[in-house]
């Protein structure tokens, strides 16, 4: 492994660097690039919903087919590429070896290979927009028979080549490749946690973020299997004329729903756990207090992981599943809220009587907890009750619910992490004014988008409709106004992220250089080395003497005790 990458030029480093930090940043840039498109798609279709006659720049007036394609790809990209790309791939790759006090991952070459698969999956997804169908439009959940046939397209399938070179096939191939990338990454993360810790760091002295990412990777590995099989079967249905999901051949479209959601539900916990990990790191640093209940949180998370494999059919209450099964799934769904409530309560206990520093990362972290728990979590309990779900299913209520669980975890907690670790990976500081502007705009306009959507859902507005003008009860009263408020908020929300992108790029080149390795005065190991860390991460590898969150420990004059410092 060469140690002199720095002098070999950008492209050499891009292709050949095995350093986990480079790979982490590659994931970050690739993910942000594809998420940019998903954000634009969201703006476009929201404008169409509230202002159907408005000519959107670059898109014109979109029709129903284009609407479906925009909505589908927004969902696919955000759930499958953005969330896991930022929270698992970027955070895991950059932070796991540095927090563990070691030089790199257990399998650096496998790490590089996993990035290539990820990049390839993004490229294939982008190609799907240029195929005759112009993008897959069957919903991010890919339900057959819509995803199998050529319904709704002006491009009927006549030959094998029509079927193979279709957006349907390419989207599925992109997803399969991305799963392979994440499986490889997951194995790497897990083995690194067990094998490559600093001297003196037992498993219970590992920062919570590392545990969360590893548990999330294990959950991913065990839930994705049936979906891989199911995706293979869907590809065969599209390309080889099999009838796995075709009721007239003894197949069952409901089978896909089960296989998809068997993965789909654990997937949201795969996204949630690293988010919680980032919150733990940011909260302990900014509250100057030890994490309450480290072991307690680990046990709760492990219980929730096993439970998460048993709740998936709450996405299918109205699909005609056996009501007795629906009862079981509903009860388990309500129960699974308990471990996560325990984790949030531990975070609150950490904040109780703490020396709070309301820095920018802390603002993001606090809002993440509040929005996720109150508006996301509680509405999840509502939807977990099968009776309520019968009314609310496929309405904007569900859309609001999952945006209130996903955005606080991916964007708010992700931003908390970004603002927290930016100075570590770049050696410079982000502009505080732009950061605050970004935060407040995001917070205000995210709620401006989400709360109207709850109300619209309760009023009965269905989701995945390309317009509501033709439905009288949705076009009268204050409902169109709510739609407009949601749309304008969504547009400003997406545009505010450009402030962040500008801040990011500007600060990387022209930001104020940090004066200290550890400006937040944090205890974990990544802060005990230079910013950015050198190749190999540490000049002298640290030896660990105690847990990762020793703040305000009696007998120590500073209010924090780095993990590698003896008392």
């Amino acid at each position: 492994m060469s140690t002199t990458h720095e002098n070999k030029g950008f492209w050499h480093r891009f292709f050949f660097s095995l350093d986990h930090k480079d790979i982490g940043l590659q994931y970050l840039i690739t993910t942000m690039f594809i998420a940019f498109f998903a954000g634009i798609f969201a703006m476009v279709f929201r404008i169409h919903l509230a202002f159907p006659d408005y000519h959107i720049p670059l898109f014109g007036i979109i029709d129903a087919k284009e609407y479906n394609i925009l909505v589908t790809n927004h969902g696919l990209i955000m759930v499958l590429w953005l969330s896991m790309g930022i929270l698992l791939a970027t955070a895991g790759n950059y932070l796991i070896p540095t927090m563990l006090g070691t030089d790199d991952m257990a399998f650096p070459k496998l790490n590089k290979l996993s990035y290539w698969f990820f990049l390839l999956s993004v490229i294939i997804l982008i190609i799907s927009f240029f195929l005759p169908q112009k993008g897959f439009g069957g919903g991010w959940t890919l339900y057959p028979p819509l995803s199998v046939g050529d319904f709704g397209y002006n491009t009927p399938y006549k030959t094998f080549s029509d079927r193979f070179f279709s957006s349907n096939t390419f989207v599925l191939l992109a997803i399969a490749l991305e799963f392979v990338a994440l499986l490889m990454g997951g194995i790497n993360f897990m083995v690194t946690l067990f094998n490559k810790r600093a001297k003196g760091m037992g498993l219970l002295q590992v920062p919570l973020l590392v545990w969360m990412i590893v548990i999330a990777s294990i959950l991913f590995m065990f839930s994705v299997g049936p979906l891989v099989a199911g995706t293979f079967m869907l590809l065969l249905d599209i390309n080889a004329g099999t009838g796995f999901y075709d009721a007239s051949r003894g197949g069952d479209p409901l089978l896909w729903e089960h296989l998809f959601w068997f993965f789909g539900h654990p997937e949201v916990y795969v996204i949630l756990l690293p988010g919680l990990g980032i919150l733990a790191e940011v909260i302990t640093t900014n509250a100057r207090k030890t994490l309450f209940g480290y072991k307690f949180i680990l046990v709760l998370v492990l219980i929730a992981t096993v439970l998460s494999l048993m709740v998936w059919a709450h996405h299918q209450f109205v699909a005609g599943v056996d009501p007795r099964a629906a009862t079981v799934f509903g009860i388990l769904t309500i129960i699974i809220s308990l471990p996560f409530a325990g984790v949030i309560l531990s975070f609150l206990a950490t904040l109780w009587k703490s020396n709070l520093r309301l820095t920018l990362p802390m603002k993001w972290a606090m809002s993440a907890i509040v929005l996720f728990t109150i508006l996301g979590g509680f509405t999840g309990l509502h939807l977990g009750a099968a009776l309520f779900d019968m009314y609310a299913h496929d309405t904007s209520f569900v859309v609001a619910h999952f945006h209130y669980t996903l955005i606080p975890v991916v964007i708010f907690a992700g931003m908390a992490g970004f603002y927290h670790w930016f100075n570590k990976f770049s050696g410079r500081e982000l502009n505080q004014f732009l950061g605050n502007l970004h935060f407040w705009l995001t917070f205000i306009f995210f709620n401006g988008f989400g709360i109207p959507l709850f109300l619209l859902g309760l009023a009965g507005q269905p989701r995945r409709y390309a317009g509501y003008d033709h439905i009288p009860y949705l076009s009268e009263g204050y409902l169109p106004l709510l739609r407009e408020i949601a749309t304008i908020s969504a547009v400003i929300l997406v545009l505010s992220q450009f402030i962040f992108i500008f801040n990011f790029i500007w600060s990387v080149y022209k930001g104020k250089k940090v004066t200290s390795n550890n400006p937040w005065q944090s205890t974990t190991l990544e802060w005990q080395t230079s910013s950015p860390p050198p190749h190999g991460n540490f000049e002298v590898y640290p030896v660990v003497y105690h847990g990762p969150y020793e703040y305000n420990r009696p007998g120590v004059d500073k209010d924090f005790l780095p993990q590698n410092q003896k008392i």
């Binding site: 490559k196 069952d252 068997f262 998936w312 799934f329 190999g536």
Partner: protein, 116 residues
Amino acid sequence: MSTHGKPQGLEHELWVPAEDDYHGHPNYLKVYIYLLILFAITVFASLIPNPMIVFIVVFSISIIKASMVILNFMHLKWEPNIIWYMLLLALIALAFLFLGLYPDTVPIERFFVPNG
């Protein structure tokens, strides 16, 4: 990981000669012969006229054969607990998949016969 050597300072990482496999060895030939015997029983059992009994017998023997391969040939008997937990998690996931899918597949008439 191979012979390029550890960076200085990481001596605490336990690198050992990999040819030593750190587990015990059963008598492979004995295990193989048991497997063949079970295999022969499976094939003859399939001739029993009652399909339910065939299914139970044959499936149980498959589980036994798979266990013998995984415990002996794959040396699971000597592997640390973490491996057992991972495999257990995989089994639990599959069990729930089966239980969750069963009510929606087996008792239900879902297919339609197309017209004509």
